[in-house]
Assembly symmetry: C2
Homo-oligomer: 506 residues x 2
């Protein structure tokens, strides 16, 4: 794990009126003690350094990279303008931010895990403000911080629309600003298969929107993972089967179930064909590749919305159902498939996450269940945790469902542990994910649609349970969204307002 | 008027399968006859030239400017890449597009008016397509075209959020791609007064979000008007009074009505104070400036949503009501103000448009009435046209009201003349406007939220009444939105899909 402590040294004075007591801090740290004592920061002398007690040194490229990034954010893209160098630190000036890694294992070269602690550099940068002379200041502040939930994710969907790498990276950067730590990459689906598989290159060759311009090459995927790693973000890929697989069928013969119209194949295909050995041979090879390409300990295996119509129409499937004694209960066939798939993935030493339907249809005990269906969410949470499963909540956070007005408040007001259950059950809820499904978003509109709406989810998953003051949240979030804009992220406005620096793009 | 005829000369052959019979034409011309005969266009030899019969020549900078712009669109930013020059026209190659201005007055140096005819260059560029070798082709096509409605507008609001000039220009460019011809600039409102007035500079000095970074200088306004003029777009500014004027009050003492709490002023202010002579002196000077800054024949004077609470609380207003014999009918006071305002604006020789409430409260006969309130729109259209007023429709096209899914279809299905009325009444409906009010949009998200949703309105206002096939519209609009994306406009997707060239920004 990655226990990071920041120590900053102070020496004196100026108070800037801010709308919220807590300025623009987002998400709100667990404990904040502010003071009126302020210090100046100058580009010429301010430094971010390893504390001498730190277990990580200058060879930790992850930290060095973060220092450069946050130095730049603190001084608003300082590298773009000329700076005097070598000036000594003056009075009332903050000379350095010491970063003290207290854990033995600093994770400098490893990948973030579900237990990783978070960097405080973002928090430090959020405390810096400009006085009326344009000087950067920070007030003496004591912060004790840790996330309420370990799993704080964003789901992006690169199948309904292909998302250029540039868009994915910009959103990873913004995730870090909001202390999200899981990128749930819903990479393929019915509509397209943009993942370029080394083992089965025909999957994207035939299944992507375009085999060259609309695919993620191995180098692209590596870049996404490394960019995320440097920001403390895990990349959990989703390969959803047996439904949502139309695009897989284009490049892999016999993978999908042929649907029948009466006694003849109709030409259409349904979910993955669960009765052929070739299906499991394919899945074995495919997930072996996936388990090496993606370093995270988990893979999301989907399993949602399996339509039984095609299976029912197919005489070979019918015969198989009879042989297995499944009667007319096609959910048993689904479970049959899923169990075999989970066994395959288990051999890769990965954990797996699945959508809630798989739980509803029976499941191995070490699975992480992802609750997404609205309406009876509390009941489902009660049942899933009651059965002892680790759980992730998304049902109230489907950000693709847009509506007029300040819908961030709706996301903000969710209490993930509001369901009926014991303390033990509640501990099984390790977090949640904001989902932005891709039917209506692509490179043109994804980023402003996601931010700052997802920021509301970020605070709910990070801050203490009693941080629920909507009006204080509005003030901080307004400032936080202007900060995102200043950092070149087109985060949309909450309401009539302005930012000191408006977005520069179109 | 500006009767523009395009003549293109053909010489042979290739048919590219397209989803719609009409390819990507948007809005659909009144009459299109397609053929399979195709011609190639090459950057080296294709030219757009004045027809020898044209009344406009090389000195018409408006046309020369449009030729350059469309040459560039036809060859996808040809100027960015190296091109062989001076090649002769080959067989099956289209050598030139002749533009033939048939009217005596070519409007080269003038401003577009409500009767201006439209350029066919956009249509020509929409007919050009790439074959599988990347060559640009156009099929022999006969088009007869004219708009169904003369007034086809977009309302943008630069008060709730300041819109950088770059954003306004990008949207004017996109308006031209969609054959919109009126930019209704809702420039000021309660929230801010970004218009820098030469006569009353304190209005923006005090009333803008920021007096330097969030204002439109005279040079900015000129640039917007000229950019629009070159694209056949009128700029109709709106200065909404007597309500929606909180920001005016900050820089102009005594302009707004002091509200009372009991017998004392509460410190708050209401609508423009209609009982002071100084109010009308101010309006006279102010609209004299506006009438010279904006060359269009019309000014929009607003007049919507006047809240009488503050007027009712003020003892001086109460006394005035009594003197005038208005009783307790404050709508009479509103009419009193509006009549005086209209008289003032009449002396500037401008026509005026107003929101429907002003009609509801009584009005001079030469006013253009803008219908915006949903619910009983047909009834209002019936009444307004029945009273003989020229009318513009916006009620069904409030694009700031977003919802999940393909809401463009809702905008598309509107029939502006569906109300009960005579032929005479229907002729009074000169068009409509799509309104994107500014509470929830700024530079970060305005453009993808407006396009292609506003394109649905564009076709409704341009094409023949019977162009209502949603599925054909979907096909053409999908292609049209990808064309906008290719032209660097972040127009959002209609549904799961891809564009050959995805948006390059973030």
């Amino acid at each position: 794990s990655f226990d990071l402590t920041c120590v900053w040294q102070y020496l004196l004075v100026e108070l800037v009126a801010q709308s919220s007591r807590y300025g623009s801090l987002w998400p709100l740290p667990q404990k904040v003690q502010l003071s009126d004592v302020s210090f100046k920061l100058t580009t010429s002398s301010f430094r971010i350094v390893d504390a001498k007690e730190s277990s990580a040194g200058p060879s930790c490229s992850l930290l060095q990279n973060a220092y450069r990034r946050y130095y730049d954010y603190i001084f608003e893209n300082a590298k773009k303008s000329w700076q005097a160098k070598g000036k000594r630190t003056g009075p009332s000036e903050l000379g350095e931010l010491q970063v003290w890694i207290t854990s033995a294992d600093s994770e400098c070269d490893g990948y973030p895990s579900v237990t990783s602690d978070e960097s405080c550099l973002e928090t430090f940068s959020q405390l810096v403000y400009k006085d009326e002379f344009g000087t950067k200041n920070i007030n003496q502040t004591t912060i004790s911080d840790f996330p309420r939930f370990a799993h704080r994710g964003i789901l992006l969907d690169s199948s309904r629309h292909f998302l250029p790498i540039k868009v994915i990276l910009a959103n990873l950067e913004t995730m870090a600003m909001n202390k999200f730590n899981v990128f749930h990459w819903h990479i393929v689906d019915d509509q397209s298969f943009p993942y370029l598989s080394r083992t089965f290159p025909q999957l994207s060759q035939k299944g992507a929107y375009h085999p060259y311009t609309h695919v993620y090459t191995p180098a692209d995927v590596k870049m996404v993972i490394e960019f995320a790693r440097l920001r403390g973000i895990r990349v959990v890929p989703e390969y959803d089967t047996p439904g949502h697989t139309q695009s897989w069928g284009k490049g892999q013969a016999d993978l999908l179930t042929p649907c029948y119209a009466g006694s003849k194949p109709s030409g259409a295909f349904g979910p993955v064909n669960p009765i052929l050995n070739t299906t499991y041979d394919f899945m074995t090879q495919f997930f072996k590749e996936i388990s090496t390409v993606f370093p995270d300990a988990y893979i999301h295996l989907g399993g949602d919305e399996v339509d039984f119509t095609c299976w029912k129409s197919n005489p070979d499937i019918q015969k198989f159902m009879e042989q297995q004694g499944f009667g007319q209960d096609y959910s048993k066939l689904e479970s049959f498939y899923i169990q075999k798939l989970l066994n395959i993935v288990s051999t890769t030493n990965k954990g797996y996450m699945i959508w809630q339907e798989v739980f509803d249809n029976g499941l191995k005990p070490d699975t992480v269940v992802h609750v997404w269906i609205g309406g009876a969410t509390d009941e489902e949470m009660h049942k899933v945790t009651g059965a002892g499963y680790t759980t992730i909540l998304s049902a109230p956070w489907y950000l693709d469902y847009i509506s007029y007005g300040q819908d961030w408040q709706k996301y903000y007001k969710v209490e993930p542990l509001s369901f009926n259950g014991t303390e033990e059950q509640k501990k099984l809820v390790i977090g949640g994910e904001a989902c932005l499904w891709g039917e209506y978003v692509d490179a043109t509109n994804l980023t402003p649609r996601l931010w700052p709406r997802a920021s509301a989810v970020a605070e709910r998953l990070w801050s203490a349970k009693d941080v629920t003051d909507i009006s204080d949240a509005f003030n901080r979030l307004s400032a936080h969204r202007c900060r995102m804009v200043e950092r070149d992220i087109p985060a949309e406005p909450l309401f009539s307002s302005y930012c000191p620096h408006e977005y520069k793009g179109v």
